[in-house]
């Protein structure tokens, strides 16, 4: 998945570092293994070389392995810390002139996992299911909560996975760099319709975002008024 947020850029680099480290291990072990089998395959009468102790060699191998592990650890910590940083909004993003965002703060949207849908509550009171609309180049913070079991919010292009666990609020931040639609899913088994519990993030311009959320709020209020009127006029039970 191509990264489209500062955090996922860092994760992408770390994934490549990890791939190189993993490849070194796989190649080293398997080349040595194949070499041993091809070179030292013997008939019944062949005599093995006498075994040597090599305590100094053990220390060297141990030290090399420790150095390798330490290097991977340090690189992982560096890139994890970078990936964890809350990004700040760019110039082209939603500005504080909007009522939905405060100066220097990310746009905060509540994401609620429920069997088997994601619900998004925007700062202006509008809400949507399945599809989340966010402005481009704007720092967005999702407050992940759940109404039932554990759900994992997973939109790989924008952010790493985070679990929504009952009783806890887990935060995930990203800043989408490009307009478009990013597909996502839930990544923890949550029951029957788990595989169908997908989500999509549509990244639009700040102006379109404001227009969308305002229209969404107006539509919701219209629908609510209609429900009230239908019931009060006795047209619906």
């Amino acid at each position: 998945m191509a990264p489209h947020s500062p955090g996922t850029d860092q994760i992408d680099t770390l994934l490549w570092i990890g791939f190189v480290a993993a490849a070194i291990i796989v190649v080293a072990i398997n080349v040595a293994l194949v070499y041993a089998i091809r070179r030292y395959r013997a008939g019944r009468d062949a005599e093995p070389r006498s075994a040597e102790g090599g305590r100094r060699l053990q220390f060297r191998v141990g030290a090399a392995l420790t150095a390798f592990a330490a290097l991977v650890f340090v690189l992982a910590v560096i890139f994890t810390d970078k990936a964890r940083e809350t990004p700040s909004s760019g110039d082209a993003g939603l500005t504080a002139t909007s009522e939905q965002i405060e100066e220097g703060e990310p746009l905060t949207i509540r994401a609620t996992g429920q069997q088997w849908l994601w619900r998004y509550d925007y700062p202006n009171g509008a809400f949507s299911y399945y599809k989340l609309v966010v402005p481009a180049d704007t720092a967005v913070e999702l407050e992940l909560v759940t109404t039932d079991v554990i759900h994992t919010w997973d939109v790989p292009s924008l952010s790493g996975k985070r679990d929504a666990v009952p009783g806890k609020t887990h935060r995930v931040t990203f800043r989408a760099d490009e307009e478009g639609v990013y597909q996502g899913s839930s990544a923890t088994l949550s029951g029957q319709a788990y595989a169908a519990m997908r989500t999509a993030v549509e990244v639009v311009s700040p102006a379109e975002y404001e227009a969308y959320t305002e229209k969404l709020l107006a539509d919701i209020e219209t629908a609510q008024d209609r429900v009230v009127s239908l019931i009060e006029e006795g047209k619906a039970p």
Partner: protein, 561 residues
Amino acid sequence: MSQSPRPEIVVDGYAPRRPRWIELATSADHKDLGRILVTASLGFLFLAVIEMLLMRLQLAIPENGFLSPVTFNRMLSTYGASAVFFFALPLVFGLFYYVTPLQIGARGTALPRLGQIGVALFAAGATVLYAALLFTPSEAGVNPLAPLSELTFLANNGVDAWVTATGLATLGFVLISIDLTTTVRNMRAPGMAWRRLPVFAWSASVSGWLMLFIGPVLLAALTMLMIDRNYDGIFFADGAGGAPLLWQHLSWIFFTGVYMTVLIFALGAISEIVATFARRPLLNRPVVMGALAAIAPIGTLAWMQNMYTAPIGTGWMYFAMLMSLALIVPVGLVVFNLLATMIGGALQMRAPLLFAAGAISAVSIGLAAELEQSMVAAAWQLKNTVDATAATHFALVGGAVFGGFAALHYWFPKMTGRTMGESLARISFWTMGAGILLAFVPLFFAGAEHGQVIDAYKFFDGTGVNVWNLLASIGSLVLAIGIVLTLVNAIASRENGPLAGHDPWGGDSLEWFALSPPDPHNFDVLPDVRGARPMRDIREAIAHRDSRAAEAPVRSSEPVA
């Protein structure tokens, strides 16, 4: 004093007192119990393979309707329990239980009744799991995370059956581990110092101790879940004083420990096999033994490696990452010494060594992929994708199936008196090798590149994973065929394999001193151990005696050892 030969007493076996199955069912002998565990584990391997094939068939094409979501989740839950509790653990502990007392020159185990009860509990657990499959099995997945596994969300008795089945089996393995650790501690032959212990017996002891720590942790968690579900408990209920994450901590401690048990078992068995078939002693035995002992605590302390996406402190994630990466050092040292023993040896590529080499190769891929899963930010992308499925399966199929089959081929002659067919073993090995690569390498791409999520009963067209999933399904069929070939080989060779004799491979440890299969009391004469390679010492003593006897006019009849 005249050298008249002593009278020999010839015993043509023991008169059977009761039918064989009654003897087996009531036996407290470690060899009978070990054989029951190993045989049962291979049966459950077959069932797990069938379940895996059904799930892969469902996932062969996008948006397939072959299995309903509920059926898929039931298969997944039963597959996970079968693979971990009823294949991997009984195979590991069955072989440990069979071989270890023989290797340390003991005539039995210290607490045989505990082992007997342990096997009975295991059998009871297996019965519950597969009886539940006929009614309502669990739908909560491989690790039934609370609160999905709570009564509110899964109201039928599936999870209760899962809890009962795994709980009974785990209690069984804890009891067997008590016997195993006590036996290794107290019943070693005269002269068998810790430093002379065969590496496999050492890994049995380490695994036994590990199970004594992790088994009760899972039993506690299962008890809590049972109370939550049936007696209005609140252990995993948020807001009432409980915490859903508690289940994750406790269960992952156990599952991570099981992972390490499989690893320690495989490395221990491979150490024996490599030394035997390279015809030279394992290089740096003390280092290997120390490293195997280090794997248990270090690896298990990395349990939060499974919880990087959960709301826990970043410090805990770094701690888990530190432990995961620290595992590189002991595992690396063991693998280095295994390879160093092979390089410069005189390798006889018999079936056990072939499977052992396959195990090293598969585990190397699995652990390397696990390294990437251990780096916190990288894992935020990779966790709970099919990349994790592939990593786990390379490591555990590598350790428990390839490593387990290596051990099976190696000790099968001891258990049955007959060798497993060599050519069928080769066909099986290469089929399995092609199968594991084809089944799981595509999942690395589907998971890491396209983010396909784990445990899902279907995937969607247009997400770029169609080809990878089709390849994986074909690969798992190939892998299944390879596995079944070895099972067929084992069944066929039990009666018809070539006769093995007591020491078919020229091994260095004492199990090859006993008959094949061994007498109920293992040894007529307890050998006096003078070094780390007692069986080689015995062979040399025999050769020495024979050369002396050739010179002397009257054949000596002194006992060998």
